[in-house]
Symmetry: C2
Subunit: 416 residues, 2 copies
């Protein structure tokens, strides 16, 4: 792998073109899913410049799901015979029926290597002890984080089959220096610790790495995690059907796309045309090393802001400013204002007294009405409403509920 940390745009793009061309020769015509998408009728695939990618069709999640329904259990997005695959994952099922996704040994190594990039950017190395607070089921979650940590040579501590208190004890006893979990669960662990008179700030953890939710790129949420754990907090973005594509650098401005292994486009969700730097649109990704289960121009449904290629960290990799802002479908339109759940989180987490919250959405035709339930002292309600008004010019009703009343989450939080 080249030293991408210092690679120029031209080197990155030359590599992307070469990888894409090579990949297509491996995929076509072995992979029935892409053969039918790309070669049906009189279509041919010719990629001579990177911009030719824009002539290829999009891949939609519902197409993968339909293929799996028609050809169970694994569908047709397989470049090799099933006997060549060694891992089965399922998507989390956040949107619809879980997809089954397979990886070959080569693709699985590639996943791990993508996570190695996440760790390196967070300054994690072979002397670290990496605790993974994760259930290790069929959802890919932090499985590749586990494999990546092994590849890096770090000491891995898998935290499946344990409750929060058992995990806290093992994080402490093993001298873990790195905690990998969802942002919600990092806060939940700190909360459980406090209930038991344990101060996680005195643990050896110096880095936390998160995924599954936008939390680690939301400044107020990140600040809260960093304060609780006395650690520096990094974000990561990945998708079961895509790979581990994003990581944050020490400047914590959002998520870089690992453009050594993925091609990113940010498109207007309506027109499908590229947006300009500074604007927001849908992230569309192509992976460049998972040839057993490729994803070409995959519409992630994730809303991101184009942050350019000039991050202060020196990497030329595309920056998604503020990380994943939310799902395209999650956008609420309240009295003409576009409102994302992550923006509400940013405001609520400015208040140290706020533990959990829930967003109540009422839809009347195309219009959304939003109200909040917030675990906080009742006297805080008016301050929160004022802060929400300042931020969004909206009057949003806030109801104070007793601490501990709202649900906690180990994997992805569902607060809407």
């Amino acid at each position: 792998m080249p030293q991408w940390d210092t690679a120029s745009r031209s080197l990155i793009e030359a590599s992307q073109l070469a990888r894409l061309q090579l990949g297509l020769t491996r995929i076509l015509p072995r992979n029935r899913f892409y053969e039918q998408k790309m070669l049906s009728g009189d279509r041919t695939v010719t990629i001579t410049r990177l911009s030719d990618l824009a002539h290829l069709p999009f891949t939609m999640k519902r197409e993968l799901a339909a293929s799996q329904e028609m050809y169970p259990p694994f569908g047709t997005n397989l470049t090799y015979p099933v006997s060549d695959y060694i891992r089965l994952h399922q998507t989390s099922g956040t949107t619809g029926q879980p997809l089954k996704v397979l990886d070959t040994p080569e693709s699985w190594d590639w996943w791990a290597d993508c996570w190695r990039t996440v760790y390196r950017a967070a300054g994690v190395g072979r002397d670290d002890v990496v605790f993974l607070a994760f259930g290790f089921g069929p959802f890919i979650g932090f499985w590749s984080a586990y494999e990546g940590a092994k590849l890096l040579g770090a000491l891995t501590v898998p935290g499946g089959g344990m409750d929060s208190l058992q995990r806290l004890r093992l994080i402490q006893e093993s001298g873990a220096t790195v905690l990998v979990c969802t942002p919600s669960y990092a806060l939940r662990l700190a909360e459980v610790a406090q209930e038991h008179g344990i101060d996680v700030g005195t643990f050896n953890v110096r880095v936390t790495i998160h995924a599954g939710e936008p939390g680690a790129s939301i400044p107020a949420t990140r600040a809260r995690i960093e304060e609780a754990w006395d650690a520096k907090t990094y974000d990561h973005a990945g998708l079961t059907e895509m790979g581990a594509y994003g990581f944050s650098c020490e400047l914590q401005q959002g998520v870089h796309v690992n453009e050594g292994e993925f091609i990113a486009e940010i498109l207007d969700p309506q027109t499908g045309q590229p947006i300009e730097e500074g604007q927001t649109g849908e992230l569309v990704l192509t992976n460049l090393g998972r040839w057993g289960y490729p994803a070409i121009r995959y519409r992630t449904g994730d809303l991101v802001r184009h942050g350019g290629h000039n991050c202060g960290c020196g990497r030329a990799f595309l920056l998604l400013s503020g990380g994943i802002l939310g799902r395209i479908d999650d956008m609420l339109v309240v009295r003409g204002v576009n409102l994302y759940p992550s923006a509400l989180a940013e405001v609520l987490h400015r208040f140290p007294e706020v533990a959990e919250y829930k967003i109540i959405v009422t839809r009347a035709g195309p219009l959304d009405e939003v109200a909040l339930q917030v675990e906080c002292p009742p006297h805080l309600v008016s301050q929160i409403q004022e802060e929400l008004h300042t931020s969004f010019s909206l009057r949003i009703p806030v109801e104070a509920v007793e601490p501990g009343k709202l649900p906690r989450f180990e994997l992805k939080a569902r607060r809407v």
Copy 2:
């Protein structure tokens, strides 16, 4: 690796000697634990014949525990610097405080390779789909089974973070052909299936592989698992502090020690002298590939019967007839009769109506009194008592309890 399936005793023993000699040069003097055990005072270690092993001191679990207490968190049984290790395990804590055990990449590969032997003996190959019904926490459990299945090229489906019904659905949907779990849990899964009107006998599972308890080598328990799953059932034996040392062959007579990777001794627990073929004694093991965390003449505390080297399967590997019979400490002495929990299980599982059971032990000085609680129809009590009397010449009180009243176990069952 040689083709051990057809290797002669002389080849096996020559390889053991060479591996042991090589291993000792790697361990000594880098490993402080064994340096102090073996080289203290005027001791030297000279191994010129395999029988010289008998001059080396035993390793006791309590020594490993004491070393860890004195030098937390990992103790001194480390041949390399901690930064060379990539995996942390904890013992299940069945006997005392959990031990922390580390593996290097090399030792971890070796674990996986030992499990490959288990799979091969069970006829499992790269076309199989292996479902692991296991929590994937810090207890090694079936972690190495997962790694071994990947190494074999089989499709692995990790079943962490799921309840029994979710696991059943995924076993079915993924077309799993191999189920890996404790024997108790295989029966528990079948029970849950029945409660939901699912017949696991119609699933694709054709092989089940078990460990953690003697069940799969107890004929009546094995028959019950095989009937429920319409599959062939294999046993496996391993220890966190030792490795995956045992497997059963298609003749299902017990557990073979993988003597390509381990040296086995069966000793009289009192005198420490070898016992004869056909007799029972304590299994003492030495591993030959886990140089990062070696175990030399480790007293397992497991009671086994010496089954000789002439299994009908053609392997010359030592057979432990009937598998692991129990813990040395578990032996009950009831009115002069030596009684193991596994022998009680064998009798109880002859009755198809018996679901769960619990052994109630009352100790008065050196004498044990035993009573049983059994989930069965009340009319069965006298038949069970009669069968127990025929088997052990003991009158053991049996109480019938309602089905579902006794605890179920996902990992090691504790029925005593």
